[in-house]
Amino acid sequence: MVGAHHGRRARALCGAAAAARLRRLVGLALVVVSSRLMGLQGWWRPAVLALGVTGVAYLLFARWLGVPLP
């Protein structure tokens, strides 16, 4: 009984961690897709741009201003 409860809790925690990682990837994907739609060629440049933009947004809002980003 206790084991099943712990199992459910562990699965819920894993699910929450996976969702948080997925949300971070959404930001990257948003920049890649939008820059491609705006005419940026290839995959390397959109990927580097996505990493740069999300990195700056994270440093500025989450680290410096203390906004608890999801």
């Binding site: 939008s34 739609l37 705006m38 940026l40 996505a50 947004a57 809002f61 203390g66």
Partner: protein, 492 residues
């Protein structure tokens, strides 16, 4: 008055400098408004003591007003609610390679208006504050209604479309909790919608995300702005000459609007734009990238910020969220604002007033040299710049209330804003409705409560009746005049 020089002591100068820099950064970043930033640094300011602490808080307040125009001009995303109007002409100026001129005029207008409001604050504080208190809910409702009718068509074009946008804005403002009764309305059982639609999310969507979507839909339509030479970076003589009258008009209007309760800085910028649209010599150019569309509203919102300090310092009444944080800071530092502030804490009163002068000079000195750096942002090709704007809009919408629902609002508002552009609707009147909607509703309900449910209570006082009659005339007159003109041109 010798206490005025308290602001020039090194600790107070440093507090003023940190406050104005922080305020400028907060103004530039959409999402984190001055009230939130002031609340964040409140614990630090308490350690600094009353004079330096309040100087820093006030620096954040007017620094944010100053910085709010930067992203409006460069990337069409209002950094602050009061800068929405600046996007109309500021962004078009930036697309024409005049970003530097627009930013410099915004800085100069803010400086002129800020300085004027400080002088007026010193001379007229108690007198004007008492006059402003004569405004009850009925008068305020009539004033807001008159504002809606007069300003609805401020961007020109179809009057019907503008009025439809204002009404949509007022309807959207009713989402969430009823301001007096607490009843939850139009939320469709979504917990995130109970606080209402975030103003930041709606404006970031309507302006910023819509701009990104328009670029995505037709990447060839948005060409990068060519780099300009250094001497073309700043406003030329003609632009400066054209900026002076709207700057002065915006300053006086903004100061007067700042005395009235509510989102004064935002309303002041709309009023100033509306006035320019009616009386400016270059009114036909407004909406297409006219410098008057930057100078007037920027002066107005900064003067309103100064005007808003009068009820706070002389009566202890905060009319905006930012002045409410300033009031809580004062109370935490054992300084009670009101009629006895000058007697009990002259150093604090005159120190804060003196810091306004110093802070305005600091902001001008800090911002004018940065114009060139900011203007370069407009020359970044859209395919590199716009994805960053998109992320900024989404993060700003979330950061406003730490609410994921606002992320959906920014996306939805972006799609609607893009469709509105395609159909020839301007989003600025919608924003006006969104700002004035809660003001109208609260004043209407309060006036009815005072009159015990009698509708006649809305026009019982003379000023309210005059303003309501003026609103009715302003609403009907254009249609009547158009009909008369049509029948004169086409007699049967």
């Amino acid at each position: 008055v010798s206490d005025l020089f308290v602001a020039l002591t090194p600790p107070n100068l440093l507090a003023c400098f940190i406050g104005t820099v922080l305020g400028t950064v907060v103004g530039v970043l959409p999402g984190l408004g001055p009230a939130a930033a002031m609340a964040l640094v409140l614990p630090l300011t308490i350690k600094l003591g009353p004079t330096a602490g309040l100087i820093m808080l006030a620096g954040i307040y007017y620094g944010a007003m100053y910085g709010g125009s930067t992203t409006s001009i460069l990337v069409n995303v209002p950094g602050e609610a009061a800068s929405v109007v600046t996007t109309i002409d500021g962004y078009r100026l930036a697309r024409r390679g005049r970003a530097g001129a627009a930013l410099a005029v915004a800085a100069i207008a803010s400086f002129v208006a800020g300085t004027f409001s400080v002088v007026a604050l010193q001379l007229a504080a108690p007198l004007v504050a008492r006059a402003a208190l004569a405004f009850g809910p009925a008068e305020y409702f009539a004033f807001a209604l008159l504002g809606v009718v007069l300003l609805a068509n401020l961007t020109g074009g179809s009057r019907a479309k503008s009025l439809a946008m204002v009404v949509l804005g007022i309807m959207l403002s009713t989402v969430g909790m009823d301001p007096l009764g607490g009843t939850v309305r139009f939320t469709f059982d979504l917990a995130g919608a109970q606080a209402g639609l975030s103003f930041v999310a709606v404006t970031a969507g309507l302006f910023g995300v819509a701009e990104v979507l328009a670029t995505m839909a037709d990447p060839a339509s948005t060409t990068p702005v060519a780099r300009v030479r250094f001497r073309e970076l700043y406003p030329n003589r003609e632009e400066l000459r054209r900026s002076v009258p709207p700057m002065l008009r915006g300053t006086v209007l903004g100061f007067l609007v700042g005395l009235i309760p509510g989102p004064a800085a935002t309303i002041a910028s709309f009023v100033s734009y509306g006035v320019e649209k009616k009386i400016s010599r270059h009114r036909d150019e407004l909406g297409t990238g006219a410098i008057e569309g930057v100078a007037g509203p920027e002066a107005a919102n900064n003067a309103a910020a100064g005007g808003g300090m009068i009820p706070l310092l002389s009566l202890g009444l905060p009319f905006t969220p930012s002045t409410a944080v300033l009031l809580s800071g004062m109370l935490l530092m054992n300084v009670t604002p009101g009629p006895f502030l000058l007697r009990d804490h002259p150093q604090v009163f005159w120190g804060v007033i003196g810091s306004f002068y110093v802070g305005n000079v600091m902001l001008l000195v800090l911002n004018l040299p940065l114009v060139g750096v900011f203007a370069r942002v407009a020359t970044i090709p859209p395919r590199f710049l716009m994805p960053g704007v998109l992320v900024l809009c989404v993060v700003a919408a979330y950061a406003d209330n730490n609410n994921l629902f606002d992320v959906w609002v920014v996306v939805g508002a972006g799609i609607i804003g893009w469709a509105m552009r395609a159909l020839g609707f301007n989003p600025a009147p919608l924003v006006l409705g969104l700002v004035l909607g809660p003001v109208l509703e609260r004043a209407f309900l309060q006036a009815l409560t005072i009159a015990r449910g009698e509708v006649s209570g809305l026009w019982a006082s003379g000023p309210a009746a005059v303003m309501l009659a003026a609103a009715a005339v302003a609403f009907v007159a254009p249609a009547v005049l158009a009909l008369a003109r049509r029948s004169a041109a086409d007699p049967v």
